[in-house]
């Protein structure tokens, strides 16, 4: 467990929205090429923590962040590193598949355009990203179709394709399956498992079974603090903390 290479980490992270403290001294590390699940009841700060890593809180004027956030050795908040450069290396998939009315092609092309990838390289990258996300066969016949015409699960896989097209190092996922039916969910999970070999994945989920199905590591948070972190199997079956046990067994939350 100690030999793992740590890709992404936070040390003594604290975050306030206005006067309300949402993260209280969080220290956590995410190993490379592993899937780590963040679990915990609503409002415990899982999504807030996730968003610290790609600097999404830069957009909320009343958020105040302390602590050290590292990607490899790079401090994400120090020096001349811009938020856009951070987001290029740390991609994100959201809870809701973004319903912006664009075509399937345009949706992935957008990120490539933003990042100044030469025009002639884009079609190949888009095709590749769709193949990697296992949605190519379903959409290849009509890439100009509005993305909103796809099913929820397809849209979510398209969002993953949009993220992998940019070759980030880390992919953050904020409850990517919470709006999906079980069949779509299993397809997305299958995809996440396949992405593991190329990316470091951190996924916020409310679904205990999902965490057990896909995550190598699980982190349990409660009221802005990390209660327990460890191998998924151990955390669910032999939790060190009583609270963890109560939560994963569904006694509260």
């Amino acid at each position: 467990m100690n030999k793992e290479h740590i890709k992404l980490s936070a040390t003594a992270a604290k975050l306030w929205f206005g006067t309300k403290q949402v993260l209280k001294n969080v220290t956590v590390a995410f190993p490379e090429n592993k899937i780590t699940a963040l679990i915990g009841p609503s409002g415990c700060g899982k999504s807030t923590l996730l968003r610290c890593f790609n600097r999404m809180h830069d957009l909320s004027p009343d958020a105040r962040i302390e602590g050290k956030f590292l990607l490899e050795e790079q401090n994400l908040y120090k020096g001349n590193l811009t938020a856009t450069a951070v987001r290029r290396r740390i991609g994100m998939v959201f809870q809701q598949a973004n319903p912006f009315p664009k075509s399937i092609y345009e949706k992935i092309n957008y990120g490539l355009k933003i990042n100044d990838i030469p025009k002639h390289e884009r079609p190949a990258i888009i095709e590749n990203a769709l193949k990697e996300s296992y949605i190519w066969d379903e959409v290849k016949d009509d890439l100009q179709k509005p993305a909103t015409k796809l099913s929820g699960g397809q849209q979510q896989r398209l969002c993953i394709a949009r993220t992998v097209a940019l070759r980030p190092e880390v992919i953050l996922m904020d409850e990517p399956c919470s709006a999906l039916d079980p069949i779509s969910t299993s397809k997305v999970e299958e995809l996440i498992l396949k992405l593991k070999k190329d990316y470091t994945i951190v996924i916020v989920t409310h679904n205990m079974q999902q965490a057990q199905r896909i995550a190598d590591k699980t982190v349990f948070m409660y009221l802005g603090e990390i209660i327990e972190a460890g191998d998924t199997h151990q955390l669910f079956n032999k939790p060190q903390q009583e609270m963890t046990g109560n939560y994963v067994k569904g006694h509260f939350g």
Partner: protein
């Protein structure tokens, strides 16, 4: 209080306010009828085609000439100029307010902009005569600066609050998820604004523009004071013009009752009414489309 008494008061209130509501419709219909009636009287004496396309407005000459094209072009020129200034500034300011400005700055700017909307048009006219006029005159070497450009700038100032407020509402109505998705692939604020937020808010922004145009076309006092009021065919922004509204306001006070000239002013008003109605209907259409989009 007795139940019966309460019922009576309730019914009386209902009756009163129903009548107020109906009265609005009656007044609107009355104005429209009056306009149409007098316009019809005018068109019995002057052909509509000559009225619209005639290039000279000289009702006191002999023979009197009733060609409203110079007035129509003046109004269009001033409105067009005003929109050239107000649309980019308005959208820019609204974008700044919705996406860039801090809370503190916003809390000062927003009320200030709304206050600008409540400045009486006469006061804005003063600004045109006292500040803008001499300024333009000095820069162009003309004897006075009362011209189409002056009016356009003032109208731009007057329509800015409407354009800014409605555009800002439209921009802020764009779901956060759209912006976040854009940021998450590495877009900066400017790219997100231009490529995502503004296109998504386009119907609302179009509505804002239409409302601004409507305000500019119908404005009377400011253009009357600032544009010089020469009813010759307008030659450009640096020449004095006389808009439709100014013409009506100037001549209505002096015209003999029920003459062709008198009817002619009503005809101008009817054309003006049609123009603002059209702009408002188009604006409303976009506002509704935008609301539907919001709900979805």
């Amino acid at each position: 209080m007795q139940l019966a008494t309460r019922e009576k008061i309730d019914n009386a209130a209902k009756l009163l306010f129903r009548m107020t509501g109906l009265m609005v419709i009656a007044i609107l219909a009355g104005i429209l009828l009056m306009l149409l009636w007098n316009t019809a009287a005018f068109f019995l004496k002057v052909k509509p085609f000559d009225f619209i396309t005639g290039t000279q407005w000289n009702p006191s000459g002999s023979p009197a000439i009733y060609g409203m094209l110079p007035l129509l072009v003046s109004t269009s020129l001033v409105t067009f100029g005003a929109m050239c200034i107000a649309i980019p500034l308005g959208i820019g300011t609204a974008s700044f307010l919705s996406d860039y400005a801090g809370k503190k700055l916003k809390s000062i700017l927003k009320p200030a902009i709304e206050m600008l909307a409540s400045v009486p048009s006469v006061a804005i006219g003063f600004l045109g005569i006292v500040v803008l006029g001499p300024g333009i005159a000095g820069m162009t070497g003309q004897s006075n600066g009362l011209n189409a450009l002056n009016g356009a700038i003032l109208l731009a100032i007057m329509s800015l609050p409407t354009i800014i407020t409605v555009t800002q509402d439209a921009l802020e109505g764009v779901p956060n998820a759209y912006k976040e998705a854009s940021y998450s692939v590495g877009a900066n604020r400017w790219q997100t604004l231009i490529l995502v937020t503004i296109p998504a808010a386009a119907p609302g922004i179009l509505a804002a523009i239409m409302l601004g145009v409507g305000r500019a076309i119908g404005e009377t006092m400011t253009v009357l004071m600032a544009t010089g009021n020469v009813s010759a065919f307008p030659k450009g922004f640096f020449h004095s013009v006389r808009t439709m509204t100014a013409t009506i306001a100037i001549e209505m006070g002096e015209v003999p009752y029920q003459t062709t000239h008198y009817y002619g002013l009503f005809a101008i008003a009817a054309v003006l009414f049609l123009m603002t109605l059209l702009v408002n209907v188009v604006g409303e259409y976009f506002v509704n489309k935008y609301r539907k989009y919001q709900a979805a």
